[in-house]
Symmetry: D2
Subunit: 348 residues, 4 copies
């Protein structure tokens, strides 16, 4: 069945483990190689790291020996869940050596020849790869998915571009898994809110969204002109980033048309029936108190973004709430969907 | 010492218990009368209700017999923590009978002759009481404090009026104690976010704030013209409502001047040295990740509003985070401060 | 496929919803009838109750009209998730009318002709049904599953009977879903422990376990002689009851033999390959810090009990930790497994 | 006022910060010296560490320069909240140099000339100090307080020795603050239970309790003969360790006499009226669902142990629940009470 060998960089971390979990029964990709820090090198995966997900660790991964994070024996297709402190160097090394690096790290997201992909939203941005090799001097390529909070916002905004999207303000309530492991100390977050997320989280949301929603012309991305303001907070939730969002539209439709725009939104992954593609990428929930992380983040394997509470905003056109699973749609699942798209586009 | 007898309506509820806790050592007011629903009538308080606060239940309150919520034996000064489903009728009955009802309920907040008070912000609104008796046909009076989330916002905005406050957008992250007891089922909120609070919470924030910040002229309140948009969410936090706020100012000052406006803000309670008045009503915290409910909500007995994270907003003038203790500054403590002000103004 | 119509009593409650979720794709049973309190009668299920599980509410159940909890149109096989305050009368009424009531309620568990079943442990107790009709004057029958904490304990003890099980002491750490909905107020449990569970929880564990582990002779159950002591506590966990257990054995085996007894334990459900039977009912986890509710309660659809931390006890023979999913293995899944067993035994 | 200068080793950690908070208004002791790891050396305290307690950081401590953890300029009386990985060496160095080290670390607790103190329980154990200097070759001395879970158990057991205390089994539900900072990752404990605490927690409870309850004879401690079995678990609670306890007594009294033994229990700290001594060290709560961490751990400044739910145990004489504040009564407050006792005994 699964005949394409893949490697995972940063395999022992939170996103690395999510890659392993999601690829356990993948019809195309088979985990064949694990890379992590020196501390883990040479150990069986199950000795190198405690398994921290409710999903069962596949036996064949448990016994696989962890490699240093250097090319060589690694397969061509590499997923990267590396921490950004090391991802820059390591991913470049793999790209130079001819690998396709499908990365969840932030390091290359804003490079002009690196696609920053949400396949439903901007599949055509893959064309940036044409110029990447020459520009960077790489035999291989790097493609990236957005920050875990950006995904939720960008997907919710994508169908609204047709209404003249001018401005967006968002306050996020983000899950602890977004900070990796060990991540947020329990002392800081149990029964608490931390109104700040380090690493430039708010700037990432503001800049990445414009690139994702941007249009491709003459081999380059022209950023979407939407003005964005983000405030990010951490809340005691395991998985699922929630956003309270207001949007200013130059041609605001009726609320019914807004909802219809979300409900009918489909992209290349749905057209191509990619294995990880949710049947309906954005689902509008009509209940007054939804979406909620505990009830909705796992919808369709965690790949669906749910939206609710659409109502007029006294300051903008509309306000609403959006939610997505941050380590699946916002990280490992996003990267896998990117790789599935590339495979079907013949780019692997 | 404490020589003014007071009664508490809704004494067994979350806010009622907070009244009891805050009045335990009050220099002026002494709990002399407890009123609750029929179920509790005739029982000692400690039998009528489980005590649910970490503070110790004062012995003299524990043994006090709970009365039906009707005037008669009740003292003139009444604090009301009644649920809004019954507060309308009961508070009116007490006002008619000549009592001063210092209410935390929403029922009369927007009545034009009822002061909606934050003593630091609009002490002069007490003048509305002059016309209230004739308008309502009451021998006594009702004065109110705002919704628990409104207080945080209105206090943070009050010092910004001088900079031409035009627009405000807020997303709140509200504690469970704001929903009373039994309130939010644990199944709904443990490890979760509920992006909706019933009872018109968002509308209350939008309308109450304009009245509170409004100016008194010719015995009437002219609402402040600020345009407001609120989204309210519930998070798994015991106490402390957090708000992510952006403000549009017609004459935006420097960030330093904004901070100085908050830090130097004082009102009548500080001038009069009222017993429950915090020394500095608004405190700006310079740490990048503050204010936080667990660390900051209890500051100065829960009567201080803390603000942090001031930075430019790409869509408005500035954005920041504000926090206040919802059952103290946002409920029982707010009402007690109102009563202290009235006492000193000779209105009791 | 699923050709046996079933009804659900108490369909809108926590256990009732779990029944609906677990039966959504059941190969034999099809939800055909919903019964609830008068408040819900005549409404479509989705209007009668908010759906509170992460699983999707099946469309055909959402639109089904909820009936009063009285026999008549109901199918023969009835699952009951009724609250014990009403289960006594209603279940008897259905049994009298000829229904097979597979109940999760406590009301009839200790009646001597009512089987209190864990199919892996005491499938032969079904024989009690022979005498039940005559004794109770019922055309139908009632069979029951244990209390949600009892199941975890009784399953962990069952394989130890061979070692001369004499005494057991358990302290439980129980999830909030065990209290139903709205159940435990969030104010009471968020960041807290409640060292008490009402409704005779500790007594239920002590008495039910002896019946479950008892032996059938001459059509009667002789209770197992094990002496039991239980302390029950509530902790802020969504699903999964954990028990800290010590056992006194008259013929204590080696630790390896204890573990092997758990690992190799199988029962009638495994032999018959019942649809809800976990492949291995008890799984021993060798990691030092397992089992944990968040990681292990959902194992094999929530039907597996996990055990860990086996070590000598200075006061008894051994101590260990056991965990099970309280609304699946400890409630709805337990009842469904009971019904599956009855179906295969030709008792439906 | 506070005229005795004290130093704090490990000042930036969880226990170190608790020392600072508790000493802020101490009538005798004044924080004069802070020691921490090299990373902090030479920085002002407020730059060396984020302050993580709801109490306000005293201004004079905030600006104090942190020293390396070596003697020299340090005052004679040193409190140590050092991690056990470094406490052994550093505390010995200070003792050698003539300091009185009042330590919360486990390293020297079981040394036969080191007092392991709960002043209410075993004040006479201070006599061990006589032989300590010669045995260890120290000019100064080290005295210790127990593990944070041991304190709760040992205090609850102390008044029961008169009834012939023979056996004790305990399952703890321990707060996250017991693991220090950053301590338990939120991913591991939010909505979860971890049925294991590293560092030999269970053994510490079993061995330390016997020493604490032991009797002094001929300058040596004879351990109490009680047989102990402990299971320790971590729960998502900020502060407060709860224990579910059964005790076997050779001369079991009535339940009333048990309760009276706890309620009337007093020790040297109460007789001497030490500043940190709670008026009643053990308080029995008659409510069916107490003690609870959130409601009871902070009683009397966190120095009181609360007990409840006394009832017969089918396997032992009685069972009950006990609770104490782990970073106050179980750590910093315990050490301060030790120092207060020494001061009054003329040992400083």
């Amino acid at each position: 069945m699964a005949s394409i060998p893949v490697g995972i960089l940063g395999a022992t971390g939170m996103v690395g483990q999510q890659f392993i979990a999601l690829l356990a029964d993948h019809p195309w990709f088979k985990v064949d190689w694990l890379g992590a820090s020196q501390r883990s090198e040479g150990k069986a995966f199950s000795e190198a790291a405690a398994w921290r997900l409710p999903n069962r660790l596949p036996d064949d991964v448990a016994t696989k020996i962890v490699n240093a994070a250097t090319p060589g024996s690694a397969p061509k297709l590499m997923f990267s869940g590396l921490d950004s402190s090391v991802a820059g160097e390591i991913e470049a090394e793999f790209a130079k050596a001819g690998h396709i690096v499908v990365s969840n790290s932030r390091n290359y997201r804003m490079v002009d020849t690196v696609p920053l992909m949400i396949p439903e939203v901007n599949a055509e941005h893959l064309a940036l790869l044409d110029a990447q090799g020459a520009q960077q001097g790489w035999k291989g390529r790097i493609i990236t998915n957005p920050n875990c909070a950006t995904v939720v916002l960008a997907m919710a905004l994508a169908p609204l571009r047709q209404f003249g999207l001018e401005s967006t303000i968002i306050t996020t309530l983000q899950a602890i898994s977004g900070a990796g492991y060990p991540g947020v100390p329990s002392w800081d977050i149990l029964g608490n809110v931390i109104p700040h997320i380090g690493g430039g989280e708010e700037e990432k949301i503001e800049t990445e969204t414009r690139k994702i929603l941007g249009s491709l012309g003459h081999g380059k991305i022209e950023n979407h002109p939407v003005k964005l303001s983000a405030t990010t907070t951490r809340v005691p939730v395991q998985n699922g980033h929630t956003g309270s969002i207001s949007v200013g539209l130059s041609e605001p439709p009726t609320a019914e048309a807004m909802i219809e725009a979300w409900q009918s939104f489909r992209g290349r992954p749905q057209q191509m029936d990619l294995p990880s593609a949710p049947p309906q990428p954005i689902v509008y929930l009509h209940e007054a108190n939804r979406p909620q992380p505990l009830l909705d983040a796992n919808r369709d394997g965690g790949m669906t973004v749910t939206v609710g509470r659409l109502r007029p905003c006294p300051l903008f056109s509309y306000k609403f709430v959006a939610l997505g699973h941050n380590t699946i749609r916002g990280a490992a699942g996003a990267a896998i969907l990117n790789a599935e798209l590339m495979h079907r586009e013949g780019l692997l």
